[in-house]
């Protein structure tokens, strides 16, 4: 381009524009990095976790007699005993009790395989002996090996036997904990927000409370665990490991999130509504109760759901208040020892047996599905009830 014709020609312009394109490409790369990490992460977890939703069963002849009720391990012989699950055998006397007609017969049953055989059938690393592998392969050729949907995973609690462990107890614990959290955090959080937004005079004290709430939101969660341990457990004597103490600890952690989102929701209600209320002679509380609060409710609910999702995934403070105890049975009250799903994931992740690995990943899949659907509900509520004044 001859530069005597274009007065705006700048010699560096090409280089500068190249640099600009490069800069834009870098920022795009950063976004692509984040998204591709997310996809890689999800694929990795699903790949590790989906085999846990099936479990290997093997068709075997089981001898049933009086001796079996006393010593279930005598029901199977030789190689069959080696590949069957000890947990299934231990439960055999109960099965016999339910079916009295089986006594002194030989039944052909689908027997739960132990975790090592299960891993072998799923084509993973396994410590099964060569002889058993050959035997299992023979059985498989006869169509006596089957992978069925894993109901055990959904219906039992933790166990030291991998094939017998499940997430039911921890899900019950999680539900109880979250109930306690919400019963405490929701009313207190909303009341605080109402006070700060509608009632409080703008003075020193109110500012202290607001600054304090902002700081509370950024305090590391593990320190809430220290509070729970020192005050709730050691001082007030709340039972350790119980959903009660876990829920109380999480409630304090959730408070700032609920307060901040409720305040924003209350703020978005236009003041003309309040003015109209005053004009009709209502008191402040009547205006808030009958007009402002109902209008702000969708926003408050959205914030609360997001804080529930936050609390659901929280692990560190719950470990400190003892919710990683080995709990095979589901809790029946708020003061029973219990565990929660993230803590269960943490415990399984530390287990040496390979079979726990896929259960950990499967537990994570369940947790993520719950969290994502909670977030989806929050987004839906926000979209549906969002109102431009």
């Amino acid at each position: 381009m001859p530069n005597d014709k274009n007065y705006f020609y700048i010699p560096q312009i090409k280089k500068r524009n190249q640099k600009a394109t490069l800069f834009k490409a870098t920022t795009l790369l950063a976004i692509i990095f984040s998204i591709s990490f997310l996809i890689f992460f999800l694929v990795d977890i699903v790949r590790a976790g989906y085999p846990a939703f099936t479990q290997t069963y093997i068709q075997m002849d089981v001898n049933i007699n009086e001796e079996v009720v006393e010593n279930p391990y005598s029901a199977l012989k030789g190689k069959n005993l080696k590949i069957a699950s000890r947990a299934w055998l231990r439960d055999l006397p109960n099965l016999i009790k339910e079916n009295p007609s089986w006594m002194n017969t030989t039944q052909t049953l689908w027997v739960l395989a132990n975790s090592e055989v299960d891993q072998y059938v799923k084509g993973k690393e396994s410590r099964t002996h060569e002889r058993e592998r050959v035997y299992v392969d023979e059985l498989r050729a006869d169509g006596k090996v089957e992978r069925k949907f894993n109901t055990i995973f959904m219906t039992t609690g933790d166990s030291k036997i991998p094939e017998n462990s499940g997430i039911y107890a921890s899900i019950v614990g999680t539900v109880l904990t979250i109930i306690v959290t919400m019963v405490i955090a929701f009313p207190i959080g909303v009341m605080t927000a109402i006070y700060l937004e509608e009632f409080a005079p703008d003075n020193r004290w109110t500012q202290v409370v607001e600054v304090n709430i902002n700081n509370l939101a950024a305090i590391p969660s593990i320190l809430f665990g220290l509070l729970g341990l020192a005050i709730f457990i050691n001082f007030f004597g709340v039972p350790r490991s119980s959903p009660l103490v876990g829920g109380m600890t999480l409630a304090l952690m959730c408070l700032p999130v609920i307060i901040v989102s409720s305040k924003a929701a209350l703020k978005s209600v236009p003041s003309s509504i309040r003015q109209a209320g005053f004009g009709l002679g209502l008191t402040k509380w009547q205006i808030v109760r009958d007009h402002v609060l109902p209008l702000a409710m969708p926003g408050i609910m959205t914030g609360s759901i997001i804080s529930i999702a936050h609390a659901l995934g929280e692990t560190a403070p719950l470990i400190i208040v003892g919710m990683i105890a080995f709990v095979p049975d589901a809790a029946t009250s708020f003061t029973d020892a219990s565990t929660v799903l993230p803590a269960q994931i943490f415990t399984w992740a530390g287990m040496p047996e390979k079979a726990y690995l896929e259960r950990t990943a499967a537990g994570i899949m369940v947790l993520l599905v719950v969290l994502l659907s909670l977030n989806a509900v929050a987004v839906y509520l926000r979209r549906k009830f969002e109102r431009k004044w």
Binding site: T27, I31, P187, M191, L196, N212, N234, F346
Partner: protein, 418 residues
């Protein structure tokens, strides 16, 4: 009588009494008004008035009773307390109903009580901060009675294993003395945080620039949920991912280039922690960058700058205080992060600069000291609170600085999101 039945009786008495108060108070006001007397308030406000002020003494006595029991004062049997509180409630109900006159300012009294309740609720969050502070300081002081404060902050060796024996009174004269020098732990925490920031700051900041400057609103709406999902993944899941996938990957890559790495290494937990923090930095910086006024960009365009130059020489410098504040918040987040380092960084206090070795952090040591059954009389358990105190002070200072910076930044540009 079991505690549960007592609670049942307490609440079983409280709510019907309050309901009765509402009905009777309202009824009396209606009757009075129908006689042509001019009342101060509406009938249902008299109802609320008698209901709330019936419940108040009952709950007060109940709460006082619970506290008396907690502090070991058990001279009055619990069943008597419940009976007394309900009796007082019934008495005050009768007195209230009797005292309702035309001049009773039910409306104002209800408003006062509700205002008091709301103030009480807002006290909870303040009490929580004090609760954290007091519980940590109290136990940390116990620790510093046994161990020197100076050694804790500046000692180079952390070897607390024999402390458990001392606590149990089985100390051996020959056993080595327990050492609580926290420098290796602080160094590990700091090092992993630095690695995390090396990942999080460039990616987070560049993403924020893309989202706020380049992306159309349509692209924004599609990309934002992905970042939100990234932010919503629980840390225990990141920890599992770091230990299961990233750590072996790091070891493999290191072996390939001829380096030796351990399976628990600072690098993998740092990288994953950095990824966890990306959405945090990007959303905060996004807010800050978006609040830079459009007129500044227009001025730069008028001087002949292209978009990238405008961003680099005008937008970013003026957004810098806010961006730095958001990075500080991210640092405090990384310092307090627990699950990733517990699962992937290791337990051994290791004073080294090699990121391929295992390291430990403050949070890991807190978790390690407080899991399992331990008594509160030995320094190993109490050391968790000393470490917690350091963590609390450091994160609090960082938070205060960054929140006030962000606030003054927003005030400068007349936008308020925080």
């Amino acid at each position: 009588m079991s505690t549960q039945t007592l609670y049942l009786i307490f609440f079983g008495g409280l709510f019907p009494l309050m309901f009765l108060g509402y009905i009777l108070g309202r009824q009396k006001a209606i009757v009075m008004r129908s006689q042509g007397i001019k009342m101060h308030s509406q009938p249902d406000q008299y109802g609320w008035f008698s209901a709330l002020y019936t419940g108040l003494p009952i709950i007060m006595i109940g709460v006082c009773g619970v506290f008396l029991y907690l502090f070991g004062f058990r001279a009055i049997p619990a069943s008597l307390l419940v009976a007394a509180s309900l009796g007082v409630g019934a008495l005050s109900l009768a007195l209230l109903i009797k005292s309702i006159k035309a001049s009773t300012k039910a409306r104002d009294l209800v408003e006062d009580l509700i205002n008091g309740m709301l103030i009480g609720a807002s006290l909870v969050s303040v009490l929580t901060t004090f609760g954290i502070l007091l519980s940590i300081i109290f136990e940390a002081l116990q620790f510093f009675k046994m161990q020197s404060f100076f050694n804790f902050l500046f000692g180079l060796e952390w070897a607390p294993d024999t402390a458990f024996l001392e606590g149990a009174g089985r100390a051996d004269a020959h056993a080595a003395e327990a050492k609580f020098g926290a420098v290796p732990i602080f160094a590990g925490t700091f090092y992993i945080t630095v690695i995390a920031m090396f990942v999080a700051i460039p990616v987070g900041l560049l993403s924020a620039i893309f989202m706020s400057e380049y992306a159309s609103s349509k692209v924004r709406a599609q990309v934002k949920p992905f970042l939100e999902i990234l932010a919503g993944i629980p840390t225990v899941v990141y920890g599992f991912f770091a230990a299961l996938t990233v750590a072996p990957l790091v070891v493999k890559v290191c072996n390939f280039v001829g380096l030796e790495a351990q399976y628990q290494n600072a690098l993998s937990s740092g990288i994953v922690m950095g990824i966890m923090i990306i959405p945090f930095i990007s959303s905060l910086s996004d807010d800050v960058i978006s609040s830079v006024p459009q007129s500044m960009r227009n001025g730069a365009y008028a001087l002949g700058m292209n978009q990238a130059e405008t961003i680099r020489f005008v937008v970013l410098p003026s957004a810098m205080p806010g961006i730095i504040a958001s990075m500080l918040l991210a640092v405090s987040r990384a310092l307090g992060e627990t699950m990733i380092v517990v699962m992937a960084a290791g337990l051994r206090p290791n004073l080294t600069l090699n990121p391929l070795e295992d390291m430990t952090t403050v949070t890991v040591k807190i978790v390690e000291a407080l899991t399992g059954d331990q008594e509160f009389n030995n320094p190993l358990t109490l050391s968790a609170f000393a470490l917690g105190l350091v963590l609390f002070v450091v994160t609090l200072v960082i938070n205060i600085i960054s929140v006030s910076t962000i606030r003054s930044f927003h005030r400068k540009y007349k936008v308020s999101t925080l």
